[in-house]
């Protein structure tokens, strides 16, 4: 065991830090989930890509640097510490990306990876339906083969950034007589497909960050199938492991937030008396972020030695999502009356970012499989408790 970063890893980290310090936009970008904010964030993805920072752990052929897991974790730590803009193509790069590498054909790799890395094609996840949330296997959007195309009919919902994304990765039912997990396929759908209509839906913060997708006789070329027809469920499960575990939410995000929380505490206690109970909560949040960090490095070592993430990704998902809620709730307590102020308020602290962070954190226990579902998975697949 050696918990120090190697000289190469430290050099890499310094390089990331320096580049970010020199290149982060001076003015914050407009909110990501608005039309102009979306395009501004796309522009930032291009800057990252041109400098080789958008997908550091990907092969060089697609714009990456082929760094290892530890370097990627370090990159994330630096990225969030620097306060750089949010990543508008996270769903593509961290959810679809690994699935495409694992299941895509060489032609699909050539076609999709580079534009994804460059922000030229921004991806949204089209899985949930009005009647199928936690019970994903019950989805009913159909895709019936017709010549070289699939013809889609049905509705998707809660599609994050789906209103402006260029492509959707969808799970659809290709065998109309099938039930549950069988007969599903994983299909890559261009946003401009005729017969696809998109309607933005306001999220809790009011931004039109969700979209509903309506498919009516929407034709999608069959070459856009990812994996085999009918194998959509197993392909999708590869994505969920990325989504729950370290790919989507590396510890860097929470470490940075915990650091900012400690700073907020120091500012608040310099101004007025802070209840010792609140410091206790600050410490809890800080320790949870630290524990997540080291559990992740331990996991990285396990993976590098040939281990698998598997269902333990569910433990990570519950842990990061709940720590994020507690962390932001603590910040709001520290802020007192200022906690409820949003960006526009003249006296808003840190531009209202703690409230917007809180609103976002609250969705963590819901998306990527609710925490109730994760706890079922942990009990059944990690601990081996009986299903029935």
């Amino acid at each position: 065991m050696d918990l120090r970063f190697t000289a190469d890893q430290r050099d890499f980290r310094d390089e990331v830090r320096t580049w970010l310090a020199e290149n982060i936009p001076a003015e914050p970008l407009p909110p990501m989930d608005t039309p102009e904010g979306f395009e501004a964030h796309r522009g930032w993805e291009r800057i990252l890509f041109d400098a080789g920072w958008s997908v550091v752990n990907w092969p060089e052929a697609y714009g990456g640097r082929e760094v290892g897991l530890v370097e990627w974790l370090l990159f994330e730590e630096e990225y969030y510490r620097s306060g750089a803009p949010g990543r508008v193509n996270t769903n593509g790069i961290t959810l679809l990306g690994p699935t495409l590498f694992a299941y895509g054909t060489p032609e699909q790799h050539e076609r999709f990876m580079r534009p994804m890395a460059a922000g030229d094609e921004i991806w949204a996840q089209g899985w949930s339906e009005p009647d199928s949330g936690s019970d994903l296997a019950s989805i009913s959007t159909r895709a019936i083969r017709d010549g070289d195309d699939f013809v889609l009919n049905g509705q998707k919902t809660w599609c994050s950034r789906g209103a402006w994304a260029d492509w959707m990765f969808c799970i659809v039912r290709t065998d109309p007589d099938s039930e549950r997990h069988r007969g599903l396929s994983y299909l890559l759908v261009p946003a401009d497909s005729p017969g696809l209509e998109r309607r933005p839906v306001g999220r809790l913060d009011g931004e039109p960050a969700f979209a509903e997708l309506f498919f009516s006789d929407c034709r999608v070329p069959a070459v856009n199938l990812l994996g085999e027809e009918g194998q959509g469920w197993s392909v999708a499960m590869a994505t969920t492991s990325s989504e729950r575990g370290l790919n989507l939410r590396a510890p860097g995000r929470f470490l940075a937030a915990a650091g900012r929380l400690a700073d907020l505490y120091r500012r608040a206690s310099a101004e007025h008396d802070v209840d010792p109970g609140v410091l206790d909560q600050v410490v809890r949040a800080w320790m949870a972020a630290d524990a997540y960090r080291w559990q992740t490095y331990a996991t990285a070592s396990r993976l590098q030695a040939g281990g698998e993430l598997g269902a333990s990704a569910s433990m990570m998902k519950v842990f990061w999502s709940e720590l994020d809620v507690e962390l932001h709730a603590t910040a709001l307590r520290l802020l007192g009356s200022h906690g409820e102020l949003v960006a526009d308020a003249p006296e808003a602290v840190d531009a209202g970012s703690w409230m917007s962070g809180y609103l976002f954190a609250l969705s963590g226990p819901i998306y990527a499989g609710t925490n109730e579902i994760q706890r079922n998975i942990i009990a059944e697949r990690v601990l081996g408790l009986p299903r029935k």
Partner: protein, 340 residues
């Protein structure tokens, strides 16, 4: 960055685990409750033969000259078995403290015998009122203000204080400070006593938590109500999952603290005491949760003195509270965070 144990470290822990499974089953823990000294006959000698008691003693004194990092996995096993012998205080606190700070004659007098197990050492936490195994120990490390003393048995009196966990033989220790027993008057050494003890308690607490979870998972998969195992019910499952999550994150935190203590500084140059405090908080909180969940999922059978669950419940409560409870260690980190 390489966050995993060596094969040797893992094998050493497995050896300890096997010994404890054979020589320290629940029946032996139970029998220790009735033993005048709270002992498991023969166990100490077997452990001495593996070298685990003297892991941290210098080779010159018959030890293995290894570090906290080599002890942390075995310590988890002592918790997993609810081992009544005070291995942590002896091997993980007193021996390294004497090795690091005792003057030649004191080290010569004690370390060899401690490493081979013929002398029993114990240590009192600056946070706690009572000292484990003080009545039968040959030498106790005791803290007073900024001083640490190594006090031989004849120089203190011990008044037994019965613990809810009868395997833990606690005592109020009375002694008088004097130049003969002074080990160090450096407050950093008092902190070292606390850090080593808290880390050892944290590692054992993780082991206790794992055993509680294993016992509970096995029980709820077997116990039937309404014609099916109680473990199919989601409320029961979620209790178990919560414990699994808490332990999953406490483990690496404890291992990281062990590494930092062995190095004398954190991975990025931080204060190892803060790593220890974080580990103790995670471990104490995890074992507290494990105790609550395990008892609840067992129902009334877990509330009996006949069922073995109680051996780990009581050990869990004691380890969670001793060597600084979660609130104490959060405060220690809080002061550092507040200072910036």
């Amino acid at each position: 960055m390489q966050f995993s144990f060596t094969d040797d470290q893992v094998m050493f822990a497995e050896t300890v685990r096997d010994i404890l499974a054979n020589e320290c089953p629940p029946s032996a823990v139970r029998a220790s409750w009735e033993d005048p000294d709270g002992r498991v006959p023969g166990l100490w000698e077997t452990l001495a033969a593996t070298g685990v008691l003297g892991v941290a003693a210098p080779e010159a004194h018959g030890g293995l000259d290894m570090s906290t990092l080599d002890l942390v996995l075995p310590l988890e096993e002592f918790g997993y078995a609810a081992c009544p012998e005070p291995v942590a205080e002896h091997a993980a606190v007193a021996i390294p403290l004497l090795s690091g700070h005792a003057a030649g004659p004191v080290a010569d007098e004690w370390l060899g015998r401690a490493a081979e197990g013929t002398a029993l050492l114990t240590a009192g936490s600056p946070t706690d009122a009572f000292v484990l195994a003080a009545e039968r120990a040959d030498l106790a490390l005791l803290c007073a203000d900024d001083e640490v003393h190594a006090v031989p048995a004849g120089s203190y009196t011990a008044v037994a204080q019965a613990s809810v966990d009868h395997a833990r033989r606690l005592a109020r220790v009375d002694w008088t400070r004097g130049p003969d027993t002074l080990l160090s008057d450096d407050p950093a050494v008092v902190r070292e006593v606390l850090d080593r003890g808290a880390l050892a308690a944290a590692a054992q607490a993780v082991g206790v938590g794992r055993r509680l979870l294993d016992l509970t998972v096995a029980y709820v998969a077997e116990r039937e109500q309404f014609g099916r195992p109680v473990g199919v019910n989601q409320a029961v499952k979620h209790h178990c999952s919560n414990v699994a999550i808490a332990l999953e994150f406490a483990g690496p935190s404890v291992h990281k603290a062990a590494w930092s203590c062995a190095q004398g500084e954190g991975p990025e140059g931080g204060d190892p005491s803060l790593d220890v405090s974080t580990a103790k908080v995670l471990a104490s909180d995890a074992v507290d949760l494990a105790c609550r969940a395990a008892l609840q999922c067992h129902g009334a059978i877990g509330y009996t003195i006949e069922h073995d669950l109680q051996l780990w419940l009581k050990r869990g409560w004691a380890l969670s509270a001793s060597w600084g409870d979660a609130a104490f260690h959060r405060r220690r980190v809080g002061e550092a965070l507040a200072a910036g």
